[in-house]
């Protein structure tokens, strides 16, 4: 009598959620761009037995961006999912894992991230500002001005722009640009950079020190600029494996100064 195949794993089974958690941790640990993702739903899961105590698992995940930058040391459990009205970004990921003797390991992963549709947000919140394009000149100008302002006042290391995380532009009642961007410390002090900014390079991998800044530029009716940066200190990260397709602008050389 042929052996009865095991019942298919349900997407909400504890075992599936444990596999999903391992997959999400792998994705967050191997991406160096954007923000950390949190699980929103297990779309599908398939287990293919390979032999005694050995399975190959294919899992499809719906993820949502959190407010934690990818380089932030904050644990995922403490990262808040960006709300729907803040123009959430979703990640669709297909992950292949292997489970041998109860130990899970990721074999391959592919993700595609995309912002929610503007129409959906307009229905719920007509006046909410939406994500601006990364190469929007107002956004680039605001980020550049904010980073220059920060570097002109800091007594620490000179910071270089790594990438823009997200940005929004509000036109009414106040014309405001809000941008979040990742920065990296360089081998110059801010003072030394004033003399020769070209000589300021990102610190090497073993001394790297990344951070994240939030800038608010008010353009009309008054003019004001506020920028707040937080550096994370040196961290050892898994090697970067490009997993996410990223819309918008990619910088040929990390640390390329936008000024």
């Amino acid at each position: 009598v042929p052996a009865v195949p095991p019942a298919p794993l349900g997407c909400d089974d504890p075992e599936s959620l444990a596999i999903a958690e391992a997959a999400v941790n792998y994705i967050n640990g191997h991406s160096h761009h954007g923000y950390k993702f949190a699980l929103n739903r297990v779309e599908d899961i398939r287990v293919v037995p390979q032999g005694p105590n050995s399975d190959i698992i294919f899992i499809e995940l719906d993820l949502l961006e959190t407010k934690c930058p990818i380089l932030s040391p904050t644990p995922l459990a403490n990262c808040t999912v960006r709300s729907f009205v803040e123009h959430a970004v979703e990640g669709d990921c297909d992950v292949k894992l292997q489970k041998v003797d109860g130990t899970l390991s990721v074999l391959a992963s592919k993700c595609h991230s995309h912002a929610d549709s503007r129409e959906d947000i307009r229905k719920v919140c007509p006046d909410c500002p939406l994500l601006a394009k990364m190469n929007n000149t107002e956004v680039l100008g605001a980020v550049s001005a904010a980073l220059n302002d920060y570097n002109s006042k800091t007594t620490d290391s000179y910071l270089r722009l790594l990438e823009i995380g997200r940005a929004k532009i509000q036109y009414h009642p106040v014309h405001t640009v809000v941008a979040e961007f990742a920065v990296g410390a360089t081998n110059c002090s801010a003072e030394e950079a004033k003399a020769n900014v070209g000589a300021c390079q990102l610190l090497p991998e073993d001394q790297s020190n990344f951070g994240f800044c939030t800038a608010v530029m008010v353009k009309h009716p008054s003019q004001d600029l506020q920028v707040d940066c937080q550096l994370y200190g040196h961290q050892v990260r898994a090697p970067h494996i490009p997993l996410l397709s990223r819309p918008g602008v990619t910088y040929a050389h990390p640390g390329q100064d936008t000024s």
Partner: protein, 38 residues
């Protein structure tokens, strides 16, 4: 002629009388949404 027997069997199961108040189990997938649907 080619017949799809597997589907027919499933259909027959559907016609099995259910006890009053029977709630079919949720489909194994997709799972429930933890935050919101986008």
């Amino acid at each position: 002629s080619v017949t799809k027997r597997a589907v027919a069997e499933a259909a027959q199961h559907d016609k099995v009388p259910r006890p009053v108040g029977f709630v079919p189990p949720p489909p194994p997938c997709p799972g429930k949404i933890l935050h919101f649907d986008i």
